[in-house]
């Protein structure tokens, strides 16, 4: 088959980019695969892309940032999408054109706004697979309403967790669309796994509030107090950098806690540690948890919606602690730091258990979903023939979102009316 991925920006760093590259490369073993990157802002991607996968940017910001059409707001890409500000009439045109002329049997969209393009603009013979790397619960009512309409034009919708797939089935009426959880895959590590001896705890992700690195730094104060020879390394950059630096200073942790800057790929950094940490309030999947486990690190994570609990088996291959609970986080870290045998046992379990996220099983499932969509398209029928349940709940959800939007509109009017 010919398969095209539609990606926001293949040249940046992030979980969606990593997982798209991983899936594209694995599919390239048997298929002709390309990645269409809506934006490009630098010469080469941060991650090495298998030469069998071709990469095609649509808008090169290095030359086209000042393009007149790029100054005009997007009309197709939904206004309520997180990345709306980066889209424009220029991206509207280029994406539409790319889809109209695409030579693929199936196109895979990788974020809500791009799925909207895909569902509405792909030619009739092209199978449409929408991927959601975020979650329905976290979308605004306005975005949910936009997607509720648009996603009916998809053949397959994949989420990264079972919990999110269940939410889509319950809250959205998408007749004929196959909704299924397809976890992110992480390739087999090329370096030997960590052996559990390094006195280093590693965390990685963008330095943004939702990742709660502040909580991690605070919890690590307890570790540093009891075990001054242990260090915490946080990889990534972002708006929280200065605030985290101040926190490290205020807590006197400059000998133990380090902001390492961005690293991509992370593998060589994971293997320098022996415990991983993930402290988000919210994590659609938790790519870094799987990466760390595949490198032999048991991960201490918050049990936040949705990903961590579908990846970590508590006390077997890692730890799950309540969201936002600094003391529980500190206790879980201390237990692992203080017990070499426990750490080594969990390290082995983590490697073993994380194999289910290897490209093999995930790619097989993706291939099956794509094939199903392609044959349904060829036969001129929908992928799912039977009526899906949950229609009443879905109607209720739709009505609730409409009411929420109306209420927020009314609130804006009230605010506007104030002197």
């Amino acid at each position: 088959m010919k398969i095209s991925f539609l990606l926001h920006n293949a040249y940046a760093i992030g979980g969606t980019i990593t997982t798209t590259f991983n899936l594209a490369q694995a599919l390239a073993e048997r298929h002709e695969v390309e990645i269409v990157s809506v934006l490009r802002h630098r010469e080469l991607p941060n991650f090495v892309l298998d030469p069998r996968v071709s990469l095609r940017p649509l808008v090169d910001l290095r030359q086209e940032r000042d393009h007149p059409l790029h100054q005009r707001p997007a009309r197709v890409f939904p206004r309520s999408e997180y990345r709306y500000g980066q889209y424009s009439e220029l991206t509207d045109h280029r994406i539409a054109e790319a889809l109209a002329t695409i030579e693929a049997d199936a196109v895979i969209g990788t974020r809500p706004g791009l799925n909207v393009h895909l569902a509405g603009q792909a030619p009739p013979h092209v199978a449409r697979v929408g991927q959601e790397h975020l979650t329905l619960d976290n979308h605004s009512p306005r975005l949910r309403t936009a997607l509720r309409r648009a996603y009916r034009g998809l053949d397959v919708l994949t989420t990264v967790t079972e919990a999110d797939a269940a939410a889509y089935r319950r809250r959205m009426r998408l007749p004929g669309v196959r909704v299924e959880a397809l976890p992110n895959s992480v390739p087999d590590p090329v370096l030997p796994a960590a052996d559990g001896s390094a006195k280093v705890v590693v965390a990685a992700g963008r330095l943004v509030p939702v990742k709660r690195y502040d909580l991690l730094v605070e919890a690590f104060a307890a570790v540093a107090a009891e075990h001054p020879d242990w260090q915490l390394r946080i990889y990534g950059k972002g708006e929280e950098q200065d605030r985290l630096r101040r926190l490290i200073t205020d807590l006197g942790l400059w000998n133990n806690v380090f902001l390492m800057g961005a690293a991509a790929p992370m593998e060589a950094e994971w293997v320098k540690g022996s415990i991983g940490a993930a402290t988000s309030d919210f994590e659609p999947f938790g790519m870094t948890i799987v990466e760390a486990m595949r490198c032999g690190l048991p991960v201490v994570s918050t049990d936040c919606p949705h990903g961590p609990a579908e990846i970590i088996a508590d006390r077997v291959d890692g730890r799950l602690v309540p969201v936002g609970d600094r003391d529980a986080l500190a206790a879980a870290l201390l237990e692992l730091v203080g017990d070499d045998e426990l750490r080594r046992r969990m390290s082995r379990a983590a490697q073993e258990n994380a194999r289910r996220f290897a490209p093999g099983p995930v790619v097989e499932q993706a291939e099956r979903l794509i094939t199903e969509a392609v044959s349904a398209r060829r036969a001129g029928r929908r992928v799912v023939r039977q009526r899906q349940g949950g229609t009443l709940t879905a109607r209720g959800s739709a009505a609730r979102d409409t009411a929420l939007i109306a209420a927020s509109g009314a609130l804006r009017l009230v605010r506007k009316g104030r002197p």
Binding site: W254, V271, K272
Partner: protein, 257 residues
């Protein structure tokens, strides 16, 4: 075609094994990056040998001793040379490197990725070395711990602060030396330091050469923005320790407020 990426792994002795896909040339060239406007002079060539499974390797043994600086890594193919991009760098053997005793001269290698995305090796070569460790700041007092490598044990040692561009302006502090004569610490709470940058040295014994304080014995090639310390306020002054671009430890003295 695009240049292959070279992965590398380093062991505790500093031996570096570079690995890349086979069939891409016959050797690797390490070149000491010359100062701006200077010709390149110091080169080191490694054979690239096939090791099966479509992989080729080049090994930089613990010898030779490389000059201090930044070494760019090139692939040699006939007369062509191409700068290599990095693959995975397995530096785990370096992480607890400060725990091992070193002899002098101290030669350190840390493979790293340049700002423009190429593979390079950062090297240090010091006759002897004082490895900076914990920095503690309580109120106006700054306390620095360090450990001596590659020199006779401290005996009548002095820690010296030397004002950069200060025409020999020196301050001397007596360190607290551990029983083994290698670990030491010292405090700075001098409210009379000149504004400016002070470089830190230890002189192990009377008449011995001064040894620069630095932090070189782990996997961090560039620690200036990683190991960051706050300042200690002594009277009207703020004394902030920091690592230079060469990972040497210095004090930045500024006026408070």
């Amino acid at each position: 075609m695009t240049t292959p990426r070279a992965g590398c792994a380093i062991d505790a002795e500093g031996r570096i094994t570079f690995a890349l896909p086979a069939g891409h040339g016959h050797g690797l060239l390490l070149r000491l990056r010359p100062k701006k406007g200077q010709p390149e002079e110091t080169l080191h060539v490694l054979d690239l040998d096939s090791v099966g499974e479509g992989r080729a390797q080049a090994v930089l043994g613990a010898e030779p001793v490389l000059a201090e600086g930044r070494w760019d890594v090139y692939l040699l193919d006939g007369d062509e040379r191409t700068r290599l991009r990095p693959g995975p760098r397995d530096l785990r053997a370096l992480v607890d490197g400060h725990l091992r005793e070193r002899r002098g001269p101290l030669a350190v290698r840390v493979p790293y990725v340049t700002k423009d995305g190429y593979l390079a090796v950062r090297t240090w070569l010091r006759p002897a070395h004082a490895e900076a460790d914990r920095v503690d700041i309580t109120g106006g007092t700054l306390k620095v711990a360090a450990r001596l490598h590659g020199a006779s044990p401290l005996d009548g040692a002095e820690v010296r602060l030397r004002l950069r561009r200060g025409e020999g302006t020196l301050r001397t502090v007596e360190p607290l030396v551990a029983e083994d004569g290698r670990s030491f610490s010292f405090t700075v709470d001098d409210a009379t330091l000149d504004i400016g940058i002070w470089d830190l040295f230890v002189r192990p014994a009377a008449g011995a050469p001064m040894i620069r304080l630095a932090r070189l014995l782990d996997d961090v090639a560039d620690r200036k923005h990683v190991h960051v310390y706050p300042g200690a306020t002594a009277g009207e002054l703020v004394v902030r320790p920091y690592y230079t671009v060469d990972n040497d430890l210095s004090l930045e003295v500024t006026r408070a407020g």
